[in-house]
Structure formats: C-alpha cells, structure tokens
Point group: C2
C-alpha cells in the first residue's frame, strides 16, 4: 500500500490560531483510494525546517503533500525550500501566468501586481495543477518515483485541488489497493465494557481487517478497515464480521454504515417520511446547524427557533408564564413545553428542544452552569432528559449536547 | 524561549476520521505563557513509531506533550512506549487507583473492570496528574531537565488537564518569557495589495516582533507577536507599531484587539446597548450559533429563526406570498422581508437574514448552488448583498456566509 506523509506549513497552526482541517480532509480522501497517511507534520515557515521535513518524509513515505506557505506575502518560503530540496531553479511559467491573469481579470482586478506575478514562478521541474479558486498554483515534483505535491493553505482552495485533480491523477498513476471501511455505532456501553464484550471477536478478526475505537460523546464508533485487492471480497468480508459482532452488542447499535450521527438521522427520517423541527436555548443554533449540514435536509427539516430570551420563548413557542415562574426556565417542564410549541409552530412529526446554561456565567435563575434539559417529541410521545456537564467549555457544551440529543433521537427511532 | 513539540497519537486522526483540535488548544495555551510550539506531529499507535517520535522531539524541543493512545482499549500502546523510551517499568500506582475507583463510584460503576484497573498502571518514574473527567491519568516523565507529558486524547479531558494542572506547573517550573499578541483585522483589501501597502512598515518592525498574515474568508488578520522579558514594555511596543500601521490601512480596519469576528461584534453590541436577532435559511443555524458561542451573548442576542421551508418563512416571518412568487425565495426581496419580519418578531435593533442554496442539490427554484442573498437591518436602515460561492462544500458555505454576514455588520457598525 502506498504511504503518504502530510506536511502543514505555517505558524498560524503552531501558534494555535488556526485549526488544521486540511490534513483531515486530505487523509480522508487518500484513504478512499487506498493510500495510507502514516504521519502528519506541522512545521514553521522556514526554509531549512521545510527541507528537513521533506527529507524525513521521503524516508518513510512514497508521497508527500504539503499545504500552506504559498501565499503572496512575505512569510511564505515553501517554494524556495522546494527548489533547493529538488535541486532546481524557480522560473516564470507562462501557462501559470496566463491562468493567473485570467483569474484576476474575472475578479475585476486587471492590474496584476508584482507580488501576484511572483506566484507564477515555479520550480522548472514541477508539473503545475492550476488553482481555480485562488492565486497560488499547486506544484508536483517527482524524484525516484516518489511524488511531492505542494498546495496553498486555504481550505476551499485545497479541497477542489485534491478532489478534482490530485486524487484522479494518483488513481491513474498507482495501481491502488482497495480499502473498505465500515463504522458500527454503539451507544449505552462504556468503552471498557464494550472492549470486554467483543474481545474474542476482535482477536479473531482476519489480518487484513483493523479495528479502531472512536469515542464521540457517549457514542463509541467501531471502525473496521479492510484492505486488499478485491473490492467485492472486502465488502463481503467486513459484512460477515459485522454480522458476527451484532449479537454481542445487541440493543446498543444505532448504525452499521453511516458515520456521522446527523447522517444516520437523515437516513431514518427520509426512510420513514418524518419531518423535524428544533427549539433551542443553550445550544444556540448548533442543533439546527448539525441537522441542516446534511445535504437534502430541507426534505425533513422544516425549521428551527433559537429562543434565547425567556420572553421570546413565552411569546413565540407559547410557553406558559406560570410554568417558567414555578419551575424556572431551565427545567424539565419548560423543555417539554418548548418541544410542544415547536412541534405546533412548524407542524412537524418530531420536535427537539434544549434549555440550559452553557456558561461560563451563571444562568438567569442561578441554575448551575452545565445543566441542560432536553425533550424529544415524536408524534404525541415525549422523553425529557437532563445532562449536567459543568466541565465543558461553552462551544464544546453546545456541540456535546446537540450530538447527544440527536443520538438519543436515533435510539428512540430504532426502538419505536 | 522554551520550545515544545506536540505529538498526537492515533489512527483516527491519520485516517481522516477525526480532526485534531487538541493541538490547537494546547499550542494556544502554551503561547500564552511564552512557550513556542515548533512542531506538531501526528503518528500511529505503534510502539516503535512512538519511541522514534519521542526521540526526534527531544532533539529539537525542551518539552513534549503527547495526546491520545491512553484509553482502556486494545489499540492503545503509548504507555508501553513511554516506559521503554524512559527505560522504566510499569506498575500499579495506588493513589491513581484510588482516584480511579472514586471516579468510577461517583458514576455508579463500582465494579471496576480489570481493563480500567490497568489504567492505574503507570511508569514508576512518572509524576501523575489525576484526570477528573476520564479514566486515563496524565503522566509526566523527566529526563535531563526535559519534560514529557502524556495525556489522553478526549478533548474535554485534555482541556482541564492543560489549563488547571500543566500550565500552572510549567509557569512555576520555567522562568518564562512574556509573549504579547495583537491582531489587527483588515477587510476590503486583498492580501497581496495589503502586503504592498504595509511593506515598509513590516520591514521596519523590531526584531522581537513577528508579523503573520492569516486570511479568514474575506478578512485578513495581521498578527503581531512580540516576545521579551518585560510585559509592560511589550504591550507598549506593539501598541506603537499598531499606531504606525493604522494610517496605512485607514478605513479597512475592523478591530485591533479581538480575534474572532463574533467577539468583535460582541464588544460593539455590548458597548452600544444594541440587540440582535437572526432569520436564517441556507446557513441553517450557523449564524445564530456563531453569535451565541460568545459568553454573555444572551445580553444582546434575543433569538433566531431557522426558516428552512418556504411556507414557514411566509408564516412565521410574515413574508408576502407575492414576493416569493414574483422573485423566488432566493432573492434580494425575500432576504429583505425576512430581516424585517425577524426584527419585528424578536423586537431587536438589528436583524440579519440569509436565503440561498448551500448545495450540493439545486434549490427549489432552480437557482444555482452557492448563491445567497443576505440582509443586514439596523434600526430602519438595511443593506442587502449577494454572494456566489459555487466551489464551497455545504458546511464550508454555511460557515463562510455566516462569517461574511457578521463581518459586514461589524463594518457597517464602525461606519455608522
């Protein structure tokens, strides 16, 4: 199997200013065509550091992909490092220059600056993959059958370069193995107990199938990765192993294919022709965002309400003032009335509600930070639960709660 | 200045299944106390690979922090690698075992499993930092004055370990330099033109101040990082440089301190006592989520509506049916009516609306994927803009549009 090393160049990652999402995307795309990422390295924008990293990367990998360090500004030194490492010169590439000119003109910036012109200078041995969404070209260098791609760092420039140009090239270039991945989502069993339950099954897995445990909130994803030459055989093989696994974790499995909980939900709602709406307080829109992040969600998601202020909850979601006064706004009762009001407002089969205190400040009623009540209403049945997660930071709290609400809904739908 | 290397251990990162957010958090916390992260490395869960990585890390850094690879399941080998690397044995640590027992009991799982008991086995030379939010302890090893911390991989276990235990320890342990960072947010100038405008200023920066360009959507963040022994002096020095910079980019600066656009907005709204609400279509809740991700946002954010289905837009936001029929739902006119309806529904000074097609499927009116209209309404004034971003993936599109809307609002508020 071909092995890849990803190198991220840029002080903005090292300083904690930016999260590196490119590596995640690239690793996932490469995995799909059977190339295994064996190392991801983030380094600073210095010529010697970059050359060193290239050197180490080629010792262990057949393919190196760098991102970052190709912008028009002073702190970018990747191109120089590339030329020095591959013992090459940098020269103006006419095709790239014309592409760049066209790109700038389409954006109403006919005055190409000297700095942009510099971006059309590339190592003479490089093969250029033109960037249709930015000014820095992607360059491919080759030595002793090993490949090095150098990409800009902006995620929405990286994605099309990888998907539309590099992946197709690599597929042609290497005779690639097949990789087949299946993810089984298990809920309601702590990781350690789960590990005990399936130990014998795990030990008996064929050599070409690897198992990983990926805990996400209170869900554990069991990922089976099979590799081999025959795609059909791999599919059959993993399916057989999953069939052996299922009885061991009966009643706890919420999905055997899709990975993300919002996609698992999407499949279920579409299959059953159910519609859904949300009424959020402490999750602040994250719940709606998770649901709508799935393509096609407009078929089942009719709308959501983020009712932050109590008076808006009362007015728009038709919560009774008495309930709020008697039980406070962060209460089981308010969560229930929110779900009911939401279901009526949007006229959906299912409604979800959250009310709680994300922190770090205390809630208006003195309730502790980290407390949340949420209601899942399906037709005329409802379940209300409480979570207390005081250790989570604000955004983590919003994410965790949203994940948990959708996960619980999926469990309820499976058992209904 | 102390130098740190971060090592992330785990196949879930290499396979593209999980984004590594721990490194970002740790790098940012270390920077605050003047420790510079010079490399971030992600490797797989194999003993030799881990030992190798530790070896290389200690060649360039004084401090190594590993995350991941400490769970109770079979695919975790970090502890063994640590013991081998530091020439140590693993033995049961009574204090850690009692802590673990207490942790399990509080969670109603008095039956400690053999697998969990194993987690109280640590290298005998290690100093243990107890984990209050999970079962894997954090271990610190020391050799020749260099430190190695080994942490679990779950982000909400990592954060408190770093913040409450490791950072205070490091501050005491090293006599640390001071780091002072300021971020100037510039809009409306492409990166390359900006670089030209401020070139002379940049070249004249003192040696202890570094400049980085961080483009975020259509905004460029200029980050000044100053390091030295005297905190007051650093603040003064960076302030002076910013004062020299401002005239060069006049009319384009939207903030000189806060980094995130939603925090810049938070400051402005709080200062001016303004309230805000949102009516979203294609951003699906992301706009509300961004605004509410700031602590204290309940003071100014009164509520939001995610009106996905057209009929809900009409009903709840009081959009005219005629407008939809005449101009389609993805139109300037509908964006305007949404903002107006939203302002009335939530009774706020400001309202924001988005209507568009996030894709990948075409919108209900055949409008092209990537088209969005958004309206910013402040009191009785409004501005409606159009964006066309067909190359963005669904979630990136939702994020980009939300960023842009808030950025535009900030620009409008500055100039009003």
């Amino acid at each position: 199997m071909e092995k890849a090393v990803l190198i991220t160049i840029g002080d903005e990652i090292l300083s904690g200013n930016t999260v590196d999402t490119n590596s995640n995307f690239i690793a996932s795309e490469l995995k799909n065509i059977g190339i295994k990422v064996i190392q991801i390295l983030t380094i600073s924008d210095e010529i010697d550091t970059i050359k060193n990293a290239l050197n180490n990367a080629f010792e262990i990998g057949d393919l190196v992909i760098t991102t970052g360090g190709l912008g028009p500004t002073r702190d970018d030194k990747t191109k120089k490092a590339l030329a020095e490492y591959f013992d090459d010169e940098i020269a103006l590439d006419e095709v790239t220059f014309n592409h760049l000119k066209g790109y700038m003109e389409r954006r109403g910036r006919a005055d190409i600056l000297e700095r942009n012109r510099e971006q059309a200078f590339v190592p003479t041995k490089s093969i250029v993959f033109q960037n249709h969404y930015g000014t820095a070209p992607c360059m491919m260098m080759e030595q002793d059958g090993k490949l090095c791609y150098s990409l800009p760092g902006v995620p929405y420039e990286v994605k099309p370069l990888i998907k539309d140009q590099i992946i197709p090239y690599l597929q042609k270039r290497f005779r690639l193995h097949y990789i087949h991945t299946r993810i089984v989502s298990v809920v309601g069993i702590p990781e350690s107990i789960l590990a005990d339950k399936i130990e014998n099954w795990e030990l008996a897995l064929p050599e070409n199938i690897a198992l990983s445990y990926l805990p996400v909130g209170t869900r554990v994803k069991l990922r089976l990765t099979a590799s081999g030459d025959n795609e059909e055989l791999l599919k059959q093989q993993t399916e057989e192993e999953i069939q052996k696994l299922l009885p061991l974790v009966e009643g706890h499995v919420i999905a055997v294919s899709e990975d993300k909980i919002e996609k698992i939900l999407a499949e279920m709602l579409t299959e059953r022709n159910l519609t859904i709406s949300t009424a959020e307080s402490c999750t602040g829109g994250e719940l709606a965002k998770m649901i709508t992040s799935v393509s096609g969600s407009s078929k089942y998601f009719l709308g959501g309400m983020v009712a932050y202020a109590t008076e808006k909850k009362i007015k728009i979601l038709n919560i009774s003032k008495d309930t709020v006064e008697q039980f406070t706004v962060v209460s089981e009762q308010v969560a229930q009335e929110m779900a009911k009001g939401c279901q009526q407002l949007f006229d959906t089969h299912i409604s979800l509600s959250t009310t709680g205190v994300a922190g770090p400040g205390k809630g208006e009623d003195g309730k502790d930070v980290g407390t949340v009540y949420y209601t899942i209403r399906i037709h005329d049945q409802e379940v209300t639960s409480k979570l207390y997660m005081p250790h989570l930071e604000r955004v983590d709290f919003m994410n965790f709660v949203s994940q948990k609400v959708i996960q619980d809904l999926v469990s309820l739908l499976i058992n209904s």
